[in-house]
Symmetry: C2
Subunit: 402 residues, 2 copies
């Protein structure tokens, strides 16, 4: 028998486990609300566009070239102007296969092993794992309720400069930060641009959740304050329309984008999905987003109520401003990595904070995603989690209705 172990280099990734289905109470992953998938209008949009332009599927990249379907890029450009105050042209947009590909492309362009990047110290697990895998040093900036602590960032920039270390970029999720859910103030956004210019470090702005603010006004993107090309911006339709559609986008000045594009060697992202989205978004994006936000807000209320009910004061969290997750600080007796293992055995999946922070700040925290489970599952799952937590860690001391 062929033995792959003789062919793997040291440093090969460990084997994947066989997939056994989702846990009963699944509070992980960026899945969204089942009922909010706009099935009927997606179908109608696809019908229209495929009858009109289906022939173009015979070409890689349709008739639009390697940057992605032109009609979709036009929509993105209009939408970014309207919702995030970004003035850009379709020529500065690269459609990618989900924002994860955006991360990979930017990393391939900018990073080599041993490089340094600056990121919010509590951060998206997929960003942290990518940077770890690349052997890149992460310097963490603490986060306040109005976003990245700017003074701390300047200290870091100064310190690195004094050590002659040139950080490759400052990565930030300014709007509904993952996992903290914070929204960076306009003042800080402007300050970030100033620091970026002063220290000549580009900003990588990941705005994947920005469409999902519940009530507050969406602030202008950092990119909107960028007059000198310091910001590389990415967004996605995964969170606003459907995660299984793998369509996101990168936006940067052409002299930057033209250096990123050569790393996209997949002969284009899925065109049917791009066509479907472009046609759908044209007349349905804003109305759809409004309904989705209301649905997610209801689920957010549900999980916050369940946390209050079953965890009481043991669960310390800020009510989400939008998005699909809540970031919870538990008492110091609770090691959430251990809680993760125990809960999974009982059919409850959570994100332990240690995977969502680059230092020890996440040890007693957890991220719960509420987009996909039903309100009933949210309530039951949080209750079960509280019971497991109580049994193992004695926290919470008492559980309502149990």
């Amino acid at each position: 028998m062929f033995n792959i172990n003789n062919f793997l280099h040291s440093g090969a990734l460990g084997p994947a486990a066989e997939w056994k289905g989702y846990p009963k109470y699944n509070f992980i992953g960026g899945h969204n609300d089942d009922e909010s998938i706009p099935i009927k209008s997606l179908k109608d949009s696809i019908d229209n566009i495929i009858l009109k332009e289906g022939k173009t599927l015979a070409k890689y990249g349709l008739e639009s070239g390697p940057q992605g379907y032109l009609t979709l890029r036009n929509f993105i450009s209009l939408q970014l102007n309207e919702s995030a105050s970004i003035k850009c042209s379709e020529k500065e947009i690269l459609v990618v296969s989900g924002s994860l590909q955006a991360l990979d492309l930017v990393n391939q362009t900018f990073l080599k092993k041993g490089d340094t990047v600056i990121i919010e110290e509590e951060n998206y697990g997929g960003t942290i794992s990518r940077l770890n895998r690349l052997g890149v040093n992460m310097v963490g900036v603490p986060i306040e309720s109005d976003g990245m602590k700017i003074n701390a960032l300047e200290e870091i920039l100064k310190d690195l400069k004094s050590k002659d270390i040139k950080p490759r970029y400052i990565y930030t999720i300014p709007t509904i930060q993952n996992p903290t859910g914070t929204i960076m103030s306009v003042k800080k956004r402007k300050a970030l641009i100033d620091l970026s210019k002063k220290y000549e470090v580009p900003i990588f702005e990941d705005d994947c959740y920005a469409d999902l603010i519940f009530d507050k006004e969406r602030p202008p993107a950092i990119k909107s304050f960028d007059k000198e090309g310091y910001v590389i911006y990415c967004g996605s339709f995964s969170k606003s329309i459907a995660p299984a559609l793998r369509v996101g986008y990168l936006l940067a000045d052409w002299h930057i984008l033209s250096r990123i594009l050569p790393y996209k060697t997949d002969a284009g992202s899925g065109s049917l999905e791009q066509m479907a989205l472009a046609e759908f978004c044209k007349s349905n994006f804003n109305s759809h987003i409004k309904l989705l936000r209301a649905k997610l807000k209801h689920k957010s209320d549900t999980i916050c109520n369940a946390l209050d009910k079953y965890f009481g004061s043991s669960a310390d969290f800020t009510k989400p401003n939008g998005g699909i997750f809540v970031w919870i600080n538990l008492p110091e007796t609770v090691d959430t990595s251990r809680l993760y293992d125990l809960a999974l055995k009982e059919g409850v999946a959570i994100n332990p904070g240690s995977e969502w922070s680059i230092n020890t700040s996440g040890k007693h925290k957890m991220r719960l995603c509420f987009g996909n489970p039903s309100t009933k599952e949210i309530d039951e799952g949080v209750k079960l989690l509280a019971e497991i937590c109580q049994k193992e860690f004695g926290v919470p001391a008492q559980i309502a209705n149990s």
Copy 2:
């Protein structure tokens, strides 16, 4: 202004050029026949499946996990059994974003800079460029009309063994080899398996064109003779249905696939495309392929006739057995890299042989793809190419009708 040049590492890829549209006579790229896109039945298939299963788009990976849409994997497994005599289960299949992702995933798993692989010396440009970029040494095996020269392969394997070099895999496109169009005989397929076992080197079988044999019978895949897990197999729907749908697949024993899967960090390939294909293929795959083959055969005849007509005996080629390209040997006076530059200025795009071979064997050769241009464009384009060739290289001496 931000200057990206200060942030690029040595070895960064050169900048992309702005896309200016396709050349008038486009004989490059795996584009397919416009008229053969099954628009109506694709639309009907999408309608059915999205109404039935659209809600699952709310989940990354639908309800199928990281290996891709289960219904599609089931179809692939049945189809490979029927058409290529491969017995496999859906558990051994990984749906990927086009076979290019399959190449990247296998390369990420198996290769490091300085490694050695064995490939057919005239080969797919995308494979050659990938291996070059990785800094991998390619050892080339000559190709005969019935596929890879097996004696030469054994000499190479012996030689490498004597030098204590362990090739990481033998890459082959056995069925309608790209660019030569050859089909490997069953006898050689079996011999390849024997050598693979004897020298303990896995085979990477790229079978992307196998659905497009015009008249001959499709031989069993090399994978079908593999009892001990030596073969990693990949296929695609790009050539059989539509290039712009980015859906391909990898097939390997689970103990191999489980080591490849962790490198797929894109949260799954496009699900709408997978759903559309699965639903479409269920009842339409065989009938569609039959029509497509007939259409491509007609275009193949057209380009062969045009080559005879305008190039006469200067163009030496074997009439394609299938697929979408013809591989042409021109007289030694013709440098096809130079012809490429000249022709592009006149609106004719060709693949110069130097990009499709790992040694000098391609210097006077060119690949012309005939899937996408109309029969009229094929005739006009080949005529124009002959005129350019004549003007620059004095070959062909005479051109019919000009």
